[in-house]
Amino acid sequence: MSAVLAPAAGIGAAGDVLPHLDWLESEAIHILREVVAETTNPALLFSGGKDSIVMLRLAEKAFRPDRFPFPLVHIDTEHNFPEVVAFRDARAAELGERLVVRSVGESIRLGRVRLRSADESRNPHQTVTLLDTIREFGFDALFGGARRDEEKARAKERILSHRDETGQWDPRNQRPELWSLFNARLHKGEHLRVFPISNWTELDIWQYIAREELAVPRIYFAHEREVVERGGLLAPVTPLTPAHEGETVVTRRVRFRTVGDITCTCPVASDADTVEKIVAETAAATVTERGATRMDDQTSDASMELRKREGYF
């Protein structure tokens, strides 16, 4: 038997040696470089949110002093916070990289997306615009900033997630990922979603933002904002999301933990007005990121998985 499975001598796993942020960073750089080497037309999804800000930093680490070997792409719901959109444009310009923006609003105007009601969240509809954009440019790999700790359905996601010609994700038909050997082979019309920061947690993201001294949109920091209490969450009051009948508008000191679509993203009560305070607050958090901030995921445990199957990020 021992001849069949002989003992192992001195096996070093990288994760054991490097401090954890360095290890996460090096892993992400490795993934970015592998996929750039093995695909022909990749792109990086950049929304102006914290995860994609970290992704841009990792792209700098992977490829500077060269230009990024891919454009930045944003699928804009046109329901984004203006501070975040302004940040997105400023950051892309500062890096001197090409930014492609395609909007869900355009898909609606073209009739590619039909809303059931005008104030319905546009988040799920990003899928149509995203797949149209992939076809328009012929992208074969899209880097995204999703993390496995965000949500149960994400916990089983591969780092390279394979999508068929219709953009669909089949959780039963994903390629096994062994060691750090990624299989990026594709048939015509297929593409990959690639998640280099799969192994990061919300706390890692903030620690990295602190360490790298990265700028983030102002609404991540504590500020005064008009909100209403709704279903245990604080819903922001904006022209797009007015208070409902009978709700009382109050001004609270809040910050956003995620900065998605205005119609479904809620801030949390907070006094954290520096990155260091956010790190401390995140380390002590008692509610998950999505639980505290997302109205659209609460309907059912499985809602994220359904959207993923249909081609969502």
């Binding site: 069949v4 001195g10 994760g15 490829f63 496995r148 959780p171 299989n183 260091e276 008692t286 639980g291």
Partner: protein
Amino acid sequence: MGTGETLREFTTLRFTTSGSVDDGKSTLIGRLLLDSKVLLEDQLAAVARTTARNGADGLDLSLFTDGLTAEREQGITIDVAWRYFATPRRRFIIADTPGHEQYTRNMVTGASTASLSIVLADAARGLATQTRRHAAIASLLAIPHVILAVNKMDLAGWSRERFDAIAGEFAGIARSLGLARVTAIPLSALEGDMVVSRGENLSWYAGPTLLEALEAASPVDPVTALRFPVQLVSRSRFGEKADRRAYLGRVESGTIAVGDTVVVRPSGVEAKVAEIVTLEGTLEAAGAGRSLSVVLDRQVDVARGDILTHRHDAPAVARRFTARLAWLDRDALVTGRRYWLKQGTKSVRATVDDVLHRLDLASLTPDASAQALEFNDLGLARLTVASPLAVDPYRANRHTGSFVLIDDATHRTVAGGMVEEVARD
């Protein structure tokens, strides 16, 4: 949990968990997370709701690791699920893999990146056939440390004799498999004894709790041989004395330093390291796990797929070798057919010339009469690659000794491979 400064110096332990169905693996992970106080209010509330909907009281701890809809409907885990948690001492990544017979594939996947494996056993039922298989996979994938978690001690009357008997039997298996480091821990995932807190029922046991064992698991002796597989070549930089190109990659093992003479494998040409570059500036030296760029002191021919190493411990360059294969695809292995083989950053055409044996998973004995490998089989095979490859035996280096086979028609990853013996050409 501390703030940025303290956590920054943490290291990560990646571990895998396996057990046969109903040994209590999901409950154990739930207990570990609950008692480490890393579960948050909304997660607790969601599990409490589902527990009540299922007609039970309190918290069903097994629900925390539960994932996709189809699995929830079938009530089973069918894939690798990744879990993250940190204690004040360490950060952990769990690869949670199922124990069903047909899912060797997932177990091998989860084990490939783990430095520790928790193998579960049921104290009341003793070691199952599958427990042996889990230990065999830990050995095959060269996981340096195995913890035998003898669960459900409450159902075995918290009996020391029972634990000793199971631990003793497992020690025999571990010896025959060549597992170097084994820690056996009696515990009850349901009651919590010896998972995070010591509890009151196992006072005869003096060893570490499960969490203590995980926090203390030491990094194994690092591999000292330098292996730097080149991922990309950047052509737009650097001064005149040096090679104007930079080689982008990650140090997979060993250390690289400015001034080192490095050998390019497989070509064999040599050059000195002129600079090690990162976004922050240049480094004098860098160790395993670091992504960086290397500039050499003269112009040499280096491409993606090449490996930079030191002359004194360079890997063998070969076209033929034997390897253990874990067959991961529903389409069985066809000997003589061409597959893509990816090792490090290199992809080459490969054929599996013949199957030397297939491991009988029940008895763990090799069956030399086997002609092919099918879904979830483990075996030993002889391979030939179309162009020379710089490889190490897997036991000497987990990075340069591992590869995957990819079907050139379906593009599926069909096998994981571990180099056994390299034929010098």
